[in-house]
Subunit: 344 residues, 2 copies
């Protein structure tokens, strides 16, 4: 059993000291980090993007099967993903933690080790935050700051009629990973020695527990001088994000069932749990893939980017937003996804 230190023995400032020691500065835009009323950054030549996310225990994560280090990694990466989704590069994050008394110093160090690993891999500086008590559970608030060359920022609102709709990677795997983890949790029935069965489904687990942000796609697009007309990351599900883009751009869209990129393991798992595979791909959240639109003439060029697939096109607003099935039926898109606040 590892040593466990109660946070109360070292206090808030002692905890912050332990969590933030040996932080090294990666980006020149980082002027001053942890240890003052605020962090200082400097962006004379670029636009700055700011994004904030909250992760709440019992709503966004279940510590029964999510290791704290993975949780920290994911909390950071999903924020980097928001910056990439605007065609930017993440540079700094601040981390706010509300911690209940059941967490020890070592627990929070594990969480932070994941955050710091993500920062290291993606070249981001951890520059500040706030650490406080909570009455119940863990709340993680991450704000990410990034930059983009002036006028290269991509909004949701720029999609135009006839633009191609593209996605990176594959869809629905993170959601199926969640189904798998939930299933094994039920089967384990609280038995601590229970060994869950993940063989042949490792990819689904990885997509759920350790998502990555698609900076490779942003790089590929930049190298080809392609600036998308609109872009988002897929956190709430493809349907929901397509509706956002079409609403912001005042357009409609058509996407094709046969074009949806779906991994083999996702299909197997959907079969096992008797779930419609297309629903999982369209509405399963947390894929953190990029959804973007490009003008029609980029068709060949964009199709050559590894992992990018054209799945449909943008229409006039009157045409509405629909999925075209294999038998040519049009099904209107609905936002279901991960709307924690709706009755489902």
């Amino acid at each position: 059993m590892e040593q466990q230190t109660e946070i109360s023995t070292i206090g808030e400032f002692g905890l912050i000291d332990r969590l933030t020691k040996n932080l090294e500065k990666i980006n020149i835009s980082t002027v001053a980090g942890v240890g003052d009323d605020g962090a200082v950054v400097r962006y004379p030549d670029t636009d700055v993007i700011v994004s904030t996310d909250l992760l709440v225990e019992g709503v966004h994560f279940d510590l029964t099967y999510v290791p704290l280090k993975h949780l920290g990694y994911k909390a950071a990466v999903v924020n980097f993903s928001d910056i990439y989704a605007m065609n930017g590069t993440p540079r700094q994050i601040t981390v706010g933690l509300a911690i209940s008394s059941r967490f020890t110093v070592e627990h929070i160090e594990q969480l932070y080790s994941g955050i710091r690993l993500a920062c290291e891999i993606y070249g981001v500086d951890l520059v500040g935050g706030d650490t406080t008590a909570s009455r119940s559970g863990l709340v993680i608030s991450v704000t990410c700051i990034g930059d983009a060359p002036k006028d290269k920022i991509v909004y949701r609102s720029g999609a135009k009629e006839t633009d191609l709709i593209c996605v990176s990677g594959d869809l629905g795997a993170a959601y199926m990973g969640l189904q798998l983890l939930e299933r094994e949790k039920r089967v384990s029935n609280g038995d601590k020695d229970f060994i869950p069965k993940f063989e042949g489904k490792e990819y689904l687990i990885e997509r759920q527990l350790k998502p990555e942000a698609r900076r490779d796609i942003i790089k590929e697009l930049a190298e080809r001088n392609i600036v998308p007309t609109s872009m988002m990351d897929i956190s709430d599900g493809l349907s929901s994000e397509l509706l956002h883009i079409c609403k912001a751009s005042d357009t409609g869209c058509r996407v094709y069932e046969e074009r949806l990129p779906i991994d083999y393991q996702t299909a197997v798992m959907a079969e096992e749990v008797n779930m419609n595979l297309v629903t999982a791909a369209m509405n399963g959240g947390e894929d953190y893939e990029l959804l973007f639109t490009v003008p029609l003439h980029f068709n060949d060029e964009v199709s050559r980017i590894p992992g990018v697939k054209v799945i449909g096109y943008i229409t006039k607003p009157e045409a509405g937003c629909a999925l075209v099935t294999r038998d040519d039926t049009e099904i209107p898109l609905k936002a279901q996804g991960f709307n924690h606040m709706s009755k489902e």
Copy 2:
């Protein structure tokens, strides 16, 4: 009884639409606000300051006696205070909310009306955020972005031996306001028709429920071309903040009991609840006054700023940090304040 709408009936996106409608842009540095993966800001000629705070129900506030509008106002203002404390001007905020099911749309609108009022008064743009469910209670996460002319940012670490220690306003009133609210809550015993007794103590209530950030002091200092050598806002109590400055600056300090600015109402309330007045002034938190140091030769000039008082001076580190009492005894400073994570 006002109409109450369950959040589940309009969902997360519906709620965000209601909260953020008619937002007008105040600052030219705000390029794009709410409605995308991130907000976009532009700071070609200034340094940028970023500060994050979490407010947790049951830890930082008690909705039995804190109206939601006041809570929103305070959540915003305490973040503005962090930016002023670095000699900057707050320009944008993002707001993350985790909301349990007992809150209605109207509740959150009240909270937001306070946030928006604070933004209006202080000239800050609300540019983004995240709204999600929580299992219990309300968590508010505010990130504030501000700017300062290059090389005018004031850190905690610049205090030098012989510098004068200055504070704005008066100390301990917010803490005494909290004592008063807690006392009336106990007396009310849950009776909804109970009328609390605040006569003659309105100032204490106001300091606790509706604190203001001292931008007037920042302006006065700038007009006199005084750049403090170090500065902080007093959120955890004077003792705690002095220790931060002295640690960061590698100095000691002496402050004088007879110099501490204390309001008459604070003194009366301390007497009533049988609490040591100096302890309240030194360790009571949430005053959001500015604590700063200036070189000795600014003595006359700084004393002329309305509401600023010189309370002591910076020493060599070997001298330690102490309060000098009226009978010339030196009492070492201790950080007590609002450290929610220490055993007290």
